[in-house]
């Protein structure tokens, strides 16, 4: 019996663990090792170079630019996205006309709003980025055509072609595609907060804005915090990479104004054939990610409220 149990466990774990080890764990471990080598990726020979790649990274202007952009994304994206999502979710849940003596009520058609808001979440970020790339097109895009039609003929920004604007255009796309998910998530959380809390507070003369900060936000804090981590990983990871890679000129341009760390890793490895140095930047990205998660966990630590 006992013997059979262990054989069963081993049998069931073997295939998933083997796949995971070969394609995830092993490459991760290797990447740390390669970050200390001068490997090009093209030839099988390489040498250990100690911390050369790391000191090179600290002198690399493009690395600092990418880091700056990534940090900006990590700070702004969660703030704006979660802020908007909380706002919309609150409007959905308490913005309704009061009926039958309920202190607060959801707006009519809230399920319709939730369905529509969730659309971008199921679409590939590639589709979204391509769509917006066209909308941002300075000569024939939707945005400038709208500006023209409302009479702002002199105001025709280059959007993705303007180094000062390009990164914000990318940000808008990422915000557009993620807000809906959090509206639905927060809305579900808000719906589970007992209505008596609001009734009691409103009875005591609190305004609705006060109830948001004193009741809704504290009770939703756990969800907000995990959303924060999720958005941060998104801003440092695949989604930011994809949006920049698909939308911007270069990609990463104009003039390195939109490069982010994952894109720089990708370009260094597969365009410049400097696999060793690329993994070094990747380790830099890993450190930034872990720092971010640690900061959010630390700042967000509060007593858990049970209700």
């Amino acid at each position: 019996m006992q013997h059979g149990k262990y054989r069963f466990i081993a049998g069931f774990l073997a295939a998933p663990l083997a796949l995971y080890a070969i394609f995830v764990i092993w490459p991760f471990a290797q990447s740390i090792y390669y970050s200390f080598t001068d490997w090009t990726g093209l030839s099988p020979d390489f040498q250990m170079v100690g911390f050369d790649n790391y000191s090179r990274m600290l002198d690399d202007e493009i690395f600092w630019k990418s880091l700056q952009h990534s940090v900006l994304l990590v700070l702004l994206l969660p703030l704006v996205t979660l802020g908007l999502a909380l706002f919309f979710a609150f409007m959905l849940n308490v913005g309704g006309r009061r009926r039958k003596g309920a202190a607060i009520a959801g707006v009519r058609g809230s399920s319709f709003y939730k369905i529509a808001y969730f659309f971008p979440q199921v679409l590939s970020i590639v589709i979204v980025a391509l769509l917006f790339q066209f909308a941002f097109n300075p000569t024939s895009g939707m945005l400038n055509a709208t500006l023209k039609s409302i009479g702002a003929k002199s105001l025709q920004p280059d959007w993705l072609g303007d180094p000062d604007l390009a990164l914000y255009c990318v940000m808008v796309v990422l915000i557009w595609s993620t807000v809906g998910f959090f509206v639905v998530l927060f809305s579900a959380g808000m719906a589970s907060i007992p209505k008596d809390f609001y009734e009691a507070a409103l009875l005591d003369g609190a305004s609705r804005i006060t109830t948001f900060f004193k009741i809704t936000l504290p009770l939703l804090w756990d969800t907000v915090q995990s959303g924060w981590v999720y958005m941060g990983i998104l801003a440092l990871g695949v989604e930011a990479f994809t949006a920049v890679q698909v939308m911007t000129v270069g990609p990463g341009g104009p003039d390195y104004s939109t490069t982010v760390l994952p894109l720089y890793v990708y370009q260094t490895a597969f365009r410049d054939a400097q696999a060793g140095y690329a993994t070094t930047i990747g380790v830099g990205l890993l450190i930034v990610t872990m720092l971010f998660a640690a900061v959010v966990m630390r700042l967000g630590r509060r007593e858990r409220l049970e209700f």
């Binding site: 003596g101 609705r208 597969f270």
Partner: protein, 305 residues
Amino acid sequence: MKVTETPPAVPAPRSPVRTTDVAAGEPAKSSEGKVLNVFSHGVLIIWAVLVVMPLLWAVMSSFKSDDSILSTPWQLPDRLHFENWTRAWTQAHMGDYFLNTLLVVGGSLVGTLLLGSMAAYVLARFDFPGNRFVYFLFIGGMSFPIILALVPLFFVMNNMGLLNTVHGLILVYIAYSLPFTVFFLTSFFRTLPTSIAEAAMLDGASHTRTFFQVMLPMAKPGLISVGIFNFLGQWNQYMLPTVLNTDPDGKVLSQGLVELATSQGYKGDWSGLFAGLVMAMLPVLAAYVVFQRQVVAGLTAGALK
């Protein structure tokens, strides 16, 4: 609220739903509610328009001629140019990309659910040395930047002869979907009652048989949620195939679209590009509208844990 609002002195119900608590005694509160109502509908509608407009605009543009897309982006099409769609499907190989994506996602979804549930079941239900270690090894993969592993992964795949192959891509998709799948299904298996599995064992079923015939059917809701989550993630995957699957004939949908955007940009075939985009967009949106409840549950399930 009910307490302060004495029965209405002035019966002035503005809408049939709000009859009892029209705040006669407290006009301030009532108007606050009304202003808030108008305001919230206002902002909610604006965001809904901002979300839906670009999508509708893409659908509309896919039926227009190139000239009118560029010169009059907001005008309705003069007639429905279906030839854009056929051009995108055949000449731009959207048909092939669809098939490739279906093949890869079909294979990897089945693999992910099977291997993920096997690992999760063992981790959730059996005590053995190293259980915690294996569990954290799996879920640790959720927070690491994939791009870091991607550079060595390229060469691992190359050495194994798996680069630019469908089965290679399937294996990688499965491996990178395992962390979340194992995390989700482990907590799901923990919530299932143990008594039924024990009864099956007493009746002489083996561990393997108990898993496939008793536990898997019971875990169906969890499998559906995590299946939807993985389906969307794998269907929309861009970074992994961009690096690991560069063969022009084997491209998946998201790669094909980027390819299409680049090449159509040179040719000026915007209508073909929009037809391709809409083609890729509509099946997923349609499936979402039909299975709305399950999709939302599947995608938000992870974040609420």
